[in-house]
């Protein structure tokens, strides 16, 4: 769970400070994950990449409000989890809900049932109960084992083929191929995104990955099949939902898609000058004469533009 480049907390004092900050803002949390294991004596002290907390509520609405008001930098926005930057640490907050049978959480589409004593600790730095921390660890190990069996290597630094396929489907809704001309597919906006994410935009890979999870979960929970299997209108509904629900990721994606659609082709997108033709942009030229700067003049494009 450790993230490269993030400073690691060194002591429980750091963790306590984070917990106090959260409590001061009315967010009650129980320590969980590696730090809780250490606190409960389940493991030897070791380095931790982030701090995990359980957060008991029906949904994230109130927490999202606090995060927005405080201006805490949001690192992850997932159905079951929020990650914020706090006191120099990455702080993961897992949503724990309650129904007639007790406490439960949804992790990546899996249902996890918590022991009844999960949030019974009332101390200054409340820790989730031993049974819940240990039990989750056991379930997590089982999951890892299952994934290892399925031979799905976790790729950290770039999107998987599956993720790229889903991304292609999403951006084709943003700039569809239609009667008005070629879209993101023909302009190869995906190639632009891939190259950008492998270089200058590498810091955004995680946001893309998380955003794509949201898209796929929404498609499955609303329509059953995954996003790629949906019809255009249904896909548009999911994209519109994304726009309203995860504006951070959506705006980032839309910005990058415009770059790939309308930027210079040397960056990997705008194949066939599709974006420039759509806008009627005549292309860069080092010298413009006075005549060429007049109204209603359409100088010949500086790129091959068939049919225009």
């Amino acid at each position: 769970m450790s993230r490269r480049g993030c400073p690691l907390p060194q002591s429980f004092a750091d963790v306590e400070r984070v917990a106090e900050t959260l409590v001061q803002k009315g967010v009650r949390v129980w320590l969980f994950g590696g730090w809780a294991e250490e606190r409960l004596g389940l493991t030897e002290p070791r380095e931790h990449g982030d701090v995990d907390f359980l957060y008991v509520a029906d949904d994230f609405d109130r927490l999202d409000g606090v995060i927005a008001r405080q201006g805490w930098p949001l690192e992850k926005h997932l159905p079951h989890k929020r990650a914020v930057r706090l006191e120099g640490l990455t702080v993961d907050l897992f949503l724990v809900r309650r129904d007639g049978a007790g406490y439960y959480s949804e992790f990546d589409g899996r249902h996890h049932r918590w022991p009844d004593d999960v949030v019974s600790d009332e101390s200054r730095l409340p820790v989730a109960s031993t049974a819940s921390v240990g039990g989750f660890r056991a379930a997590f190990e089982r999951l890892l084992e299952e994934q290892r069996r399925q031979q799905k290597p976790a790729r950290e630094d770039c999107l998987s083929a599956d993720e790229l396929g889903l991304l292609a489907a999403v951006i084709e809704r943003l700039v569809p191929s239609d009667d008005h001309g070629p879209g993101a597919r023909e302009a190869n906006v995906l190639r632009y995104l891939e190259q950008a994410l492998a270089g200058e935009y590498a810091e955004h890979v995680e946001a893309y990955r998380d955003g794509l999870v949201l898209v796929e979960e929404r498609a499955r929970s609303t329509y059953g099949p995954g996003f790629r299997a949906l019809g255009g209108d249904e896909q548009d509904d999911v994209v519109a939902w994304l726009e309203g629900t995860a504006p951070g990721f959506f705006e980032l994606l839309l910005r990058h898609v415009r770059e790939g659609m309308f930027g210079d082709p040397r960056w990997g997108g705008n194949d066939g000058f599709a974006g420039w033709i759509l806008l009627g942009y005549p292309g860069p030229r080092p010298v413009w004469t006075a005549d060429e700067q007049q109204l209603d003049v359409q100088p010949a494009p500086t790129y091959p533009a068939p049919g225009r």
């Binding site: 805490w72 700039v175 974006g275 806008l279 942009y281 030229r285 010298v287 003049v297």
Partner: protein
């Protein structure tokens, strides 16, 4: 113990728009100058006609300067976060003037006297509560000769609107009287700026071409602009832009008196036992070095000026250099820039080209050029319409209400209208306020581990009303020029690239940091260059005023230096230790 560079007469921190002028004036007078520049050298061969590289990824504002961008909050009770407004700046020889569009307007005479003129015309009650609005400690007339020196030296293309009191309707009739005409004819108008000029005249307004530090014809050994359309966020590909790296610095270097240390990050201005500066400690190649000097001119961008002073603590200056009166960081301001858009159905506005300096301006709603009675705000700002639209920008600009932002509907709209969207923007002058301040962020650090500047800035009622007013004028202008539909960008957009204040210039050490020549009240051999000294932000682009003040400050240093040398020509100057 840090390495010691050879002593210079003057250590100059930052060699950009202001520092370039200082280097020119000081070396002309025979002074030895050591310039510490945090960036490297850029040049025309690095220019690219590529929107992604220039405007989107802002290659000139490299990762280093990005890491120094101040944090932002709108209230002292908040934690500061990333700035919601653009604040990028260039670290390079030539500074941010390398990538500007050269707009070189003088401030209006009113801008130097806005407090007293407001009280005269509207009464004391017109000054908003909490505003620290003040007159400048100098007048337009005192700065006029320095404006002229800069215009002639860097090459400004324009048309005088007030030549010694004679008004010329093809220039800006609202400008203060000028002693001479611009050295270069204005940049040529385009179809679009011509259309907007007609629209302004239809309304009875007084349009004029922006004066720009861009050669309309060959000048000073540099060629004329080719109107390529990639001026902004870019080095000029033919050196037609009068940025200091091509207009001022080469000649200064050729005197042999200017030594530029690039990639040199000033981290502390040092003082001696008498509280005078004795030089600058800087980081280069990971090592601390010391540049001894008999005077220091601090000419970095505003945020860095404030940061360096606050970080330069010593026994004599426990709160930061020149800050014993706790004035450093106060009165932060910026321009608020409303953008309005208009649809000219069926017209090919052909804005895909041109210098960013091909701008038509209107000053009818700037300063006190109109009656503010009952409007509920002071001041105003210049309105501008320009060429240099690029494709990603055209696809990103706000859309009229009801047009989708993605999907087939969006594509259809772009295909139909991308050629026919016009826009205009304003630069509303924010007032200074007691609570709008800069200090050091207790948490955020830059790439070298030094604290970043933290902005605390609230947009006041005066500013909201002024914004709305200019926005209405912009839409009126577009409509009068033929737009059938106009729309406004949402929210209030503050341009952190046009900031002012932080080291206010004034006569009273209790309420200002530097005197009327921009030397620190508390540290007589420390001068501060740049918009950080502006008592008010003015309703025009700041660069020319920054440069005129830098000229005046440098000239003052030269004059006092000569006077002292004459008085003590036999005294051996101690190098100190």
């Amino acid at each position: 113990v840090s390495e010691r560079a050879p002593e210079a007469d003057v250590a100059l921190i930052g060699i950009g728009a202001a520092g370039g002028v200082a280097a020119h004036v000081l070396t002309e007078a025979g002074l030895e100058v050591a310039a510490l520049e945090a960036g490297g050298r850029v040049g025309s061969t690095m220019a690219a006609h590529d929107e992604l590289q220039n405007d989107v990824r802002e290659w000139l504002s490299n990762a280093k300067s990005r890491a120094e961008v101040p944090t932002w909050r709108s209230h002292p009770a908040e934690e500061a976060g990333p700035a919601p407004f653009p604040m990028l700046m260039v670290n390079a020889v030539g500074g941010s003037a390398v990538h500007y569009e050269g707009a070189s307007l003088r401030f209006l005479p009113w801008h130097f006297r806005s407090r007293s003129r407001t009280i005269e015309r509207y009464g004391q009650g017109a000054i908003p509560t909490g505003s620290t609005l003040t007159d400048w400690p100098l007048t337009y007339d005192e700065l006029e000769p320095y404006y002229e020196h800069v215009e002639v030296t860097i090459g400004v293309s324009g048309r005088a609107g007030n030549l010694g009191g004679t008004l010329d309707p093809s220039g800006n009739r609202f400008e203060g009287p000028r002693n001479r005409e611009y050295p270069l004819e204005p940049l040529r108008p385009t179809g679009w700026t011509g259309l907007m000029s007609s629209g302004a005249r239809n309304l009875g307004w007084h349009p004029f071409p922006v004066p720009a530090a861009i050669n309309s014809e060959p000048y000073a050994g540099r060629p004329a602009c080719t109107y390529c359309g990639f001026c902004r966020h870019n080095v000029c590909h033919v050196n037609a832009k009068g940025s200091p790296d091509v207009s001022l610095i080469p000649a200064a270097e050729s005197t042999g008196l200017l030594r530029i240390e690039t990639e040199a990050r000033a981290i502390r201005i040092e003082v001696d036992a008498h509280g005078l500066t004795r030089g600058v400690t800087y980081l280069k190649d990971g090592r601390e070095r010391f540049q001894p000097a008999r005077a220091v001119l601090l000419g970095a961008f505003l945020y860095e000026n404030v940061r360096l002073l606050l970080r330069s603590t010593s026994k004599s200056f426990p709160h930061g250099l020149a800050n014993n009166h706790r004035q450093v960081g106060k009165h932060y301001m910026a321009h608020a820039c409303p953008f309005a858009f208009g649809l000219f159905p069926g017209r090919g506005l052909n804005r895909w080209n041109g210098s960013g300096g091909q701008i038509v301006c209107v000053d009818d709603w700037n300063g006190d050029n109109f009656d503010h009675e009952g409007l509920g705000f002071l001041g105003g700002g210049v309105l501008m319409a320009m060429n240099e639209v690029k494709p990603i920008m055209a696809a990103t600009d706000p859309l009229p209400p009801g047009v989708p932002r993605w999907g087939s509907g969006w594509k259809a709209w772009l295909k139909e209208n991308a050629q026919s969207v016009g826009s205009a923007f304003g630069q509303f002058e924010h007032l200074p306020y007691e609570d709008n301040v800069l200090d050091l962020d207790p948490v955020a650090r830059d790439g070298t581990g030094l604290p970043r500047v933290r902005v605390t800035h609230r947009i006041g009622e005066n500013e909201r009303r002024g914004w709305d007013f200019l926005m209405r004028k912009l839409r009126e202008w577009l409509a009068a020029s033929g737009a059938t539909e106009t729309w406004a960008q949402a929210g209030i957009f503050l341009d952190g690239r046009h900031p002012a204040g932080g080291t206010r210039m004034g006569d009273d050490p209790e309420t200002s940091v530097v005197d009327k020549y921009a030397f620190a009240h508390e540290v007589p051999n420390l001068g501060v260059l740049g918009a950080s000294t502006f008592p008010t932000v003015g309703g025009h682009n700041p660069t020319l005023t920054v440069q005129a003040l830098a000229w005046r400050t440098s000239q003052h240093l030269v004059d006092s230096w000569c006077a002292r040398s004459r008085a003590a020509s036999d005294v051996t100057v101690s190098k100190g230790a």
